[in-house]
Every structure is written in C-alpha cells, then in structure tokens.
C-alpha cells in the first residue's frame, strides 16, 4: 500500500519515472557543457562534440536524450539553448537555489566570485567565517556573516546547499552544524573525509585522485 501510494504520487505530479543515478549524473554534465558552449556563442553542437568534453560516449549521449524526445536535427546536431531548456525540464532544476559558503579565505573568495555556480542558478546567499576580522567584509554580492548566525540565515534565505571552503580540520564540525540546520547537500573543497547521515549527499572535490588516474594512463 505504501508502494502504491508512491506510484500514485509520481503519476499525479509527473508522468515520467525517476531517472537512474547514471542518467541524472550524465545529463548534469551535458548541461554544464551546453551552458559553457552557449556562453562561448555556440548555437549548435553535435553529440560528438559533447562527447569530447564530457568523456561520455556519443552514442550514449544520443540515447540518453532520445529517451525524452527528439531534440536534435539529423545532419545538423542539437540547438544549444533548446537543449539546455529540455535538460533543465528533465532534471527539474530550473529554479534558483541558495548556497551557504563556509570560509572566506582565498578559496572561499575565489568560489564566491566565480561564475561556475551562478551559471546554473546557484546563488551564494550567505558566507560564514569564524575569523572576527572578516565579518562584514564584502564577498561576491554579499558580506561575511558571523558563524553564530548560521541557523537563522539558513532559514531566512531558504538555503539548501552548503559549500565548504574551510581547513580540513574544521570541515567535520561545519558539516555537523550544517546538517543540524536541515541542509542535505554539501560540496566539500577540503581534503577531509566528511561523515554525514545517509540522507545527506556530500560531494568531495578530488583533483589529486583525478591526476593519479590520468597519470597512470600517461605513463608508458
């Protein structure tokens, strides 16, 4: 009966089924490439080109997309802005999402002033730091808030995502506080291994692992 209820909810809200983890991950990456291609003034793009930038097979890309409609033109490719719209509809991530950034040091400042999040509708709505000297400093389009105001500001700005740009030793404590505020998605730029409840998603930036992997294949 509870399973039946869930199916009914899906049927009422959206006719499509839940995407698999793999498909959702790949669609997100296509969206990133398309967004950047659009900024570079590209109108059209082929599955082959998307493949080069995502390292996903071109046939796989065409099949991922064709599962939701015929978005391309044979002999021509895909219209970039049309495809951006379609993927956003599929991912149901068309809205604006507010981010809380932790750490107003060099990394935090770089993140706050970068376009990488803004391009996808993510707004850095609050920045926190434990250093009293930094409180009130302008950063991106906001100012540094005291860490003690975390809970009320998360509530006030409807923040759903945390980005951790703090030292590794502080990361777990911040993660715990963030979870306590009801945030369920974190992006961790520190090298710390974050412990979090099962319903919380933690993505950890891992450039060193990617270099090791690349290095293995480049060695004779």
């Amino acid at each position: 009966m509870s399973i039946g209820t869930r199916y009914n909810e899906y049927a009422a809200g959206t006719p499509t089924e839940r995407l698999s983890v793999g498909v959702a991950a790949r669609l997100s990456r296509y969206l990133q490439v398309l967004t950047q291609a659009s900024k570079m003034g590209r109108d059209r793009i082929s599955s082959q080109e998307i493949a080069e930038f995502t390292n996903v097979n071109a046939t796989q890309i065409r099949r991922d997309l064709s599962g939701f409609g015929k978005f391309g033109k044979r002999g021509v490719g895909y219209d970039v802005s049309l495809l951006i719209g379609e993927i956003r509809k599929i991912l149901r991530t068309q809205g604006q999402y507010n981010i809380a950034l932790f750490g107003a040091g060099r990394l935090g400042q770089a993140v706050a002033s970068s376009a990488v999040f803004a391009d996808h509708g993510f707004t850095v709505a609050a920045v926190f730091d434990v250093d009293p000297a930094r409180i009130g400093e302008p950063i991106g389009s906001t100012r540094v808030s005291p860490y003690g105001e975390l809970a009320p500001l998360v509530e006030e700005h409807s923040i759903t995502i945390a980005v951790l740009a703090v030292p590794a030793l502080a990361a777990q404590r911040v993660a715990d506080d963030v979870v306590a505020c009801g945030i369920r998605i974190m992006f961790n730029y520190s090298e710390a291994l974050i412990q979090a409840p099962a319903d919380v998603t933690v993505h950890t930036s891992n450039p060193a692992a990617e270099l090791l992997h690349a290095l293995y294949f480049s060695l004779a």
Copy 2:
C-alpha cells in the same frame, strides 16, 4: 607482429596487464581516502568504510583489491598504510611528480598552499602569472615566475602536469602553450571547455554539475 611486440614489452617490464580505465579510477579514489584516513590516525579500515567515502560498492572494492593479492584480514579489515603501499605499486605512481600552476590569484594561492596535491607526491614546482606585479611573489614553497619562462622552466623542473587556475577567457591559450611544451596532463579549475589533442588528458573541475545531480535526487 606489432601486437606480439607489444605483449613482449609488457611481459619484460611488468608481469601484470594494463588496468582498465574503471579500475584505475577507482583505485585512485581508494588511495585518496586511505591517505586521508592515515592522516586522521586510522590504522585499519573496512571495505564498508571506504565504500561510504567513495560511493563505490563495498563488494566492488574488495574485488578490485583481491585481483592483486590478499591485502585484508577477515573479521578485521585492511591495514591502512599497507594498502596505501600496495595501491601505489599497482598504479605505479610511487614517484614524485612536478606540477606547473597557472594563475597566482586567489584560487592559485589556495591550490599552492593546500595539502591536496602534496599528499600524493605532487609538488608545485613552478607558478606562472601574466600580471607583472605578481612576479617574484612567494606562493607555496616557490615564487611566481613570468609566463614567458614557461618552456625553460617546464624543461628544467621536469614538469609533467599543469593545473589551470586562470580566468575562463585565458584558459584555452594557456592550454595551447602547455601542450606546446610537451605536457600531457591538465587539471582545469576554470569553467572553460578546453580543446586539446587526443593524447592530452584534461580534467575539468565541475562542482556545479555535481550539485545539479545531487539536487535532482534530493528534490521530492
């Protein structure tokens, strides 16, 4: 005959076959988790714990490792430092590798002073910036060099990896120059889509795509 020659080369140098892309990528991620666990003072770790931090299935982890030897103890788990050594042997990435960092701005400074690369034997041997005001500035354990000295310094320091912390608009030009110097591995922190020859590996940091992906699954 050429195929036979290749097999002979492998047989002479190393008895093991080439790892698949998937295995090498996963082993690199296990190594990152183990390295961090070691820094946190952990002596032992179970496949289940590695699974939680890598999002790789615990059975998969055990099978990846058991293909190369019996590194674990039943009922106990894996010895962290022993396993670090074994994976380094498998990946043949035990040496020191020199990095050229491009961009001495906030992001570049954050990267240069972070432990994330140093923990895996990557040394930032040279930092380049086009801003004359920054030349000679200390950054990490080196100083900012003029961009014009790229080729001789890459040669002098045996640099094999480039890390791009430059604005998106400058990224492609830097990538072209880097490739011209013979570097074949790049890590790109900008949101730019980098074009490079097929034998060059470019990894682009993509926090926004990972957030979009996480967001999809966290939405009701």
